[in-house]
């Protein structure tokens, strides 16, 4: 049953035309064709269909599979130092504590002297506490059709333990504030062959690229759309992906070079975006178009 849903979801997923479509994946849009010329406020056919599927899938959220794997990896002794993250990794709430940690990041970690989002922090623990090599993790950080990196499971596990909690990025901490302001300036920075910045596509309300709605990340409601459902089981391609991946793919569409994995650059942008969503309820890892 679940397999069928996932298959159907994948089929729906190809509808929206990507901004930077590659020849390999032409943007088919059969359902979109049937839709009337949409008004900005109206939900297009693709959105309605997606919401229907999501409702049907609520009972069997595919993210939970990844959470379960992540839990096992969190609790198992691993890496050259043969320690578990549960006995060594502090996500800001005390060693091994995952409850509510995801919604309180990015935050400043004195031991690393850096502002870190959840994924960056877990990578840091894997390197510093378990002895894994950063370059090896960073070489293949995102899922594809045949492969899901451990880090994706771990992030999904940690995120799952903030389900139905309020976003609370500690913006009063001066280091976090600085990261927020820097991220804000980065989001406004136009460069590259097309003069794009994040704000070109995500800087005002009610905009779309083809049929894809573009949340306005400078508003509380828009920022929450950019946070909700991540890490997410993405119907396009049928893989589990994290916020780090989303940031990278948007820089690709922006025609920028590639941001380094788990870097300050991504942490600052996430601080800005997640900080703007403060006070709103995070529903846990989910499904993304």
């Amino acid at each position: 049953m679940k397999q069928n849903f996932i298959g159907a979801l994948c089929a729906v997923a190809v509808m929206g035309g990507a901004f930077a479509q590659t020849p390999k994946k032409p943007a088919a849009k059969p359902a979109a064709k049937m839709a009337p010329a949409p008004m900005v406020e109206e939900k297009d056919a693709a959105t309605l269909e997606f919401e229907k599927f999501r409702a049907e899938m609520e009972e069997s959220n595919p993210a939970e599979l990844f959470e379960m794997k992540g839990e096992e990896q969190w609790k198992t002794k691993r890496g050259p130092k043969n320690v578990s993250l549960a006995e060594s990794c502090d996500l800001g709430q005390g060693v091994g504590k995952v409850e509510g940690a995801y919604v309180k990041m990015p935050r400043y970690f004195a031991d690393a002297d850096a502002v870190m989002d959840a994924e960056r922090r877990i990578v840091w623990c894997m390197v510093e506490k378990q002895g894994f090599k950063f370059d090896e993790i960073a070489a293949k950080p995102f899922a594809n059709a045949n492969f899901t990196p451990d880090i994706t499971n771990l992030v999904t596990y940690v995120a799952g333990h903030s389900r139905n909690m309020k976003i609370a990025v500690p913006l009063k901490d001066p280091k976090v504030r600085e990261a927020y302001e820097t991220g804000k300036a980065m989001a406004a920075y136009r460069a590259g062959p097309y003069d794009f910045s994040c704000n070109t596509c995500h800087g005002s309300d009610g905009k779309r690229i083809r049929m894809q709605n573009l949340p306005n990340l400078s508003t509380a409601a828009g920022a929450m759309k950019g946070v909700q459902g991540w890490p997410g089981y993405r119907m396009t391609g049928g893989v589990m992906l994290t916020h780090q991946w989303r940031m990278g793919d948007c820089f690709r569409q922006q025609r920028f070079p590639q941001p380094k994995y788990a870097s300050d650059a991504i942490a600052y942008l996430l601080t800005y975006m997640i900080g703007n969503a403060n006070g709103q309820v995070y529903k846990g890892p989910g499904i993304k178009r």
Binding site: A20, C201, P257
Partner: protein
């Protein structure tokens, strides 16, 4: 040419003096330092793409709202730079234009380098009524020719707008397709035809 550069440079200098209290000054510097530190070249997306050119710098520094006198002068510079077709004909084949308007390919790190690239037009504009999957970052261009006419002046305007959108609106969100070499003369002519040719579905 040199004169223009000097002018632009001195305007940029004036601007910085004229707006000393730009509050985000420090964060902008930190943002740029972070871009330079934390990005790597991939495919055709080289590191030099992170640097601002003169126009991007003015738009970034002023939150896309440059003072009128600077905007007018720099728009004029951009317009002077537009290369119109040697044969003076602006109208190409609207069918080829429609294909080009559909494609969003080009310039990302996952695209093969080289031309031709897509126009991306439907990502931001409603154009032909037959295409209902369109973006809304730009205004609708449906019935553009019907509403604005198909005079030589309008043809020239549309050609130059596609060649360099910033010649008419300095901090426009629309790329400078001709200026950056994304679209050549033939492609721009075809797109002008898509918008203006009375036979194009846009104007039916």
């Amino acid at each position: 040419m040199t004169k223009k550069i000097i002018l632009a440079a001195s305007m940029a200098a004036t601007l910085m003096i004229a707006l000393p209290a730009v509050a985000e000054g420090d964060y902008r510097a930190k943002a740029i330092a972070t871009f330079n530190k934390d990005f790597q070249a991939r495919g055709q997306a080289s590191i030099d793409r992170l640097a601002e050119d003169g126009l991007q710098l003015i738009c970034n520094r002023t939150g896309n709202k440059p003072p009128e006198y600077i905007a007018k002068q720099m728009e004029a510079d951009q317009l002077a730079d537009v290369k119109y077709p040697a044969d003076g004909k602006m109208l190409g084949d609207w069918k080829a234009g429609e294909k080009l308007a559909q494609s969003g390919r080009g310039f990302t790190w996952s695209d093969k380098p080289g031309l031709p690239v897509g126009g991306n037009c439907y990502n931001c504009h409603r154009i032909s009524p037959n295409e209902t999957s369109f973006g809304t970052i730009g205004p609708t261009l449906y019935q553009f020719g019907k509403l604005r006419g198909n005079t030589p002046d309008i043809q020239k305007y549309v050609y130059s707008k596609i060649y360099n959108a910033k010649a008419h609106n300095l901090c426009s969100e629309m790329p400078r397709f001709g200026r950056v070499g994304a679209l050549g003369e033939k492609q721009i002519k075809d797109l002008v035809a898509l918008l203006l040719d009375p036979a194009s579905p846009v104007n039916k």
